[in-house]
């Protein structure tokens, strides 16, 4: 579904990604972990071309993406993204947030977009908030709307960039629950997170990044219980698992 080969990314002189290779298969949930500054968020942003790579090849659903020549809007329309700070559109209601992209990008007619949006809001448990503006929502509700907004485009895969890091602890659970249900429904997901419990329960694979390279790519059992990598073990001790 998503294939990244030899991804390099620098900001000025600082090389953040030093040759990343990874592949995500359809229906797979890949959790990316690592200390801050390890490059995991940057890598995720490269997968959606919010950052353009300096070198390497990204293939989405079998199509190799040419960053310079391809219409990146079309590529992005097929891969959803959920941000740490939600980035809901404050001047639009919850319903309008979810309807916006299907109408503008897919040219869906308004009535159908509305029906779809209400359906998806129901799935994330927010039907009753459809006509509310985002500033009236809790953090957990905001993030669920953001997930609904991404789902409305019927993406082939979803990228999550630390989706629970900006939430109060008591609100983390409701967001993780929605993500878990998505995973069970077979959504292809790449999740950057510090939630080790989620990684353990939901991930098919866990990838550990350190200083811009992948140092471990394993199933949860191996990763948490049998890792031979020194840095992985240090990391696990640090996050207290």
């Amino acid at each position: 579904m998503i294939k990244a080969e030899n991804i390099h990314k620098s900001f000025g002189k600082l090389e953040v990604l030093k040759g990343i290779d990874m592949e995500v298969h359809p229906g797979e949930v890949v959790v990316m972990v690592g200390v801050s500054g390890s490059g995991k968020s940057t890598f995720l942003r490269c997968l959606n071309f919010l950052e353009l790579t300096n070198d390497g090849v990204i293939t989405i659903d079998g199509k190799r993406v040419d960053q310079k020549k391809d219409d990146l809007s079309k590529v992005r329309a097929e891969v959803g993204m959920v941000f740490q700070h939600f980035n809901l559109f404050p001047h639009k209601t919850v319903l309008e947030n979810v309807m916006e992209a299907p109408i503008m990008v897919k040219k869906m007619d308004k009535a159908k977009a509305k029906a779809n949006a209400l359906d998806i809001l129901g799935k994330v448990g927010l039907s009753d908030k459809a006509d509310v503006y985002p500033n009236k929502l809790s953090g957990g509700q905001k993030q669920r709307v953001a997930i609904a907004r991404a789902l409305a485009m019927e993406p082939k895969a979803l990228l999550f960039d630390e989706p629970t890091s900006a939430l109060d602890p008591e609100l983390v659970g409701e967001v993780l629950q929605v993500m878990k249900e998505l995973a069970e429904d077979g959504m292809t997901m790449v999740v950057v997170t510090h939630e080790m419990k989620f990684a353990k329960e939901v991930a098919d694979r866990i990838i550990m990044l350190n200083e811009g390279v992948i140092i471990e790519d394993a199933d949860p059992d191996t990763f948490f219980n049998h890792s031979t990598n020194e840095r992985t073990r240090q990391f696990l001790e640090m996050v207290n698992v």
Binding site: N48, L72, S73, F83, F89, H91, M104, V105
Partner: protein, 221 residues
């Protein structure tokens, strides 16, 4: 002092009909200037934040020249410059000059408010597959407009008062009329006090409208 009040009252009663008409002219000139200025402001703000070096240079040139020269010079220049090419009444020449003048300041207001919208808004919009034009039109600009309203209101008040300068090309708006009245009646102090009062009333009405509109926007949000 009571004598002054009496003469002010006399001047007021004698001139109010004329001033009401002149006031209408002031409002018209201001309205045209605000529309022209806002249009130019949006266009030049978008040029300035575009990725094209040529468009950026044009916008910078416009802003530099307009902000760097006095409004009264611009009015004179436009009036005597343009009326030598096409026939334009002094009313329209003045209103357009005032609009072009305001465009430069309004461009800077819009540029600031567009750039002040959180970067995450643009990213979220792009990530949904919206292109750059859709992102600007549907997501960034509506938010920028809300931020721009207080400084825009301020700029419009300045425009209203600056419209007095078009008297130099012979437009009989508030100040133009006051100038003539002052000369013919030999009562400059009283006349200019009266005309100052008219400007004050207009600005207060406009300020109230602006406050009402800002509140309305807040409720919607």
């Amino acid at each position: 002092m009571p004598e002054l009040l009496v003469t002010i009252y006399d001047v007021f009663m004698r001139t109010y009909k004329g001033f009401l008409q002149a006031g209408l002219l002031t409002i018209e000139i201001t309205a045209i200037a605000v529309v022209v200025g806002t249009f130019l402001g949006i266009v030049f703000a978008l040029m300035k934040i575009s990725h094209s070096k040529i468009l950026q240079t044009i916008a910078n040139l416009y802003i530099t020249i307009i902000r760097g020269t006095p409004l009264i010079v611009q009015i004179m220049f436009l009036y005597y410059g343009i009326t030598s090419i096409i026939i334009l009444s002094n009313f329209w020449a003045g209103a357009i000059a005032l609009g072009i003048h305001n465009g430069a300041y309004i461009a800077e207001i819009f540029r600031g408010s567009i750039q002040g919208v959180d970067r995450g808004q643009r990213e979220a919009s792009l990530a949904l597959g919206m292109n750059r034009t859709q992102t600007m039109r549907r997501i960034i600009f509506p938010q920028a407009l809300r931020r721009a309203i207080p400084p825009l209101g301020n700029q419009f008040i300045i425009t209203l008062k600056d419209s007095s300068l078009v008297y130099v090309i012979g437009v009989s708006e508030l100040f133009g009329l006051a100038n003539r009245e002052a000369a013919s009646s030999f009562l400059p102090l009283e006349t200019f006090l009266v005309v100052g009062f008219y400007y004050l009333v207009l600005v207060m009405i406009f300020t109230a409208l602006l406050r009402w509109y800002e509140n309305k926007l807040d409720v919607d949000k």
